[in-house]
Symmetry: C2
Subunit: 202 residues, 2 copies
Amino acid sequence: MESAPKSRMRGSARRTVITAAALKVFAEKGYHAASLGEIAKAAGVARTVMYDHFPSKRVLLLAVLQEQNTALVEYIGARITGRGTARERMRDTVDAYFGFAQSRPEARKLLFDAVSEDDPEIRTVRWGIREARTKAVAAMLAQDMREIGVDPAEPGAEAVVEFIITGMDGVAQWWEHRPEVPRSTLVEGVMWLLSSGLGPRS
Amino acid sequence: MESAPKSRMRGSARRTVITAAALKVFAEKGYHAASLGEIAKAAGVARTVMYDHFPSKRVLLLAVLQEQNTALVEYIGARITGRGTARERMRDTVDAYFGFAQSRPEARKLLFDAVSEDDPEIRTVRWGIREARTKAVAAMLAQDMREIGVDPAEPGAEAVVEFIITGMDGVAQWWEHRPEVPRSTLVEGVMWLLSSGLGPRS
DNA sequence: AAGTTAACCGACACTCATGTCGGTTGCGCG
DNA sequence: CGCGCAACCGACATGAGTGTCGGTTAACTT
């Protein structure tokens, strides 16, 4: 976990190690079950060092959430060109999301599985992340919807967007138990449903 | 919460009151953040009474999970006739699920939102519930899939089933924030996507 | 009506978490 | 070189939650 067991790190470097450890432990055990002691051990420092870098467990979680959300946005953004047909763009986005889920499963879990909603501020931040994602997808789909005569603002359309997003999460979750399934298979399946529903495969 | 403040209940009756209170608190705060003291207060008894009826907090949660899962199966089962076209049966099922989510939001949350997966036995039970639901839906869709030339056992098809199930959950979750949207709108939206994808509305 | 079961409770012991404080020392910088 | 910041740590105080034990009494049984 740590390469140099004796040397003393610079603050920012240590913070990076800590948030990485926190990501793992939070994702695995959930917020309440994770203890600062365990995170500290995973980061290779004494427990009290945590308080030299983060004022509280809550703030630490919020920092990790922000960090990973930024990572997600960058990851997806770097992989969609915005060029090609609507269908091609959609496929790129779906593929990028599954790519993220594959390369950073803990980040996906922490960001989108429901983990500890009891704290008001945590709840707010998590809801904001979810909303931002919904908006981004809705914007991508808006044009296509208008073309087929559906108002993207109507509740039914919003519900469909929610369906798609959480459905993708569900597939990603299921994928963790079936890692042998190739990513392309997932993308094909999702694209099939989105293109033609349960109708004949195109 | 309790009508007769002085009288002493029979064991089974008290257990019912306790599990009802536990359902509320667990659903609201999650497993770890919920304390037995709080649940006891909501049930109108002293904290130690909990141990006269359940040996531990863990077992209490498991009991609530089983109870609510049974309630879900009964609720859905009572509302789908199994008659009519495939599409009609599907619509009935979708409508029944949203009906359950509407009439028992805490049960839906406890059963399907990820709450405290750290305990191995809890994890197993929750995964079993999820799998049973997946199997039921897969069985319902298997015939239709075969008709359009898709093997229901292939990974892509399984992934699509997961997509549909978790997508429904996502819509139900979103619905809690938009309760003014009528249930029929949700059913229409889901049926639209399942029938024809993002293609033209049929 | 008396006896027995079991529903109920208060007090206690214990564990484990968070967060604080003061001291030590590696390391960059003048 | 040596000075000082800050990275690091051990010991402590505190609080919250779980689970136990023994006693009390309602209410069912016969």
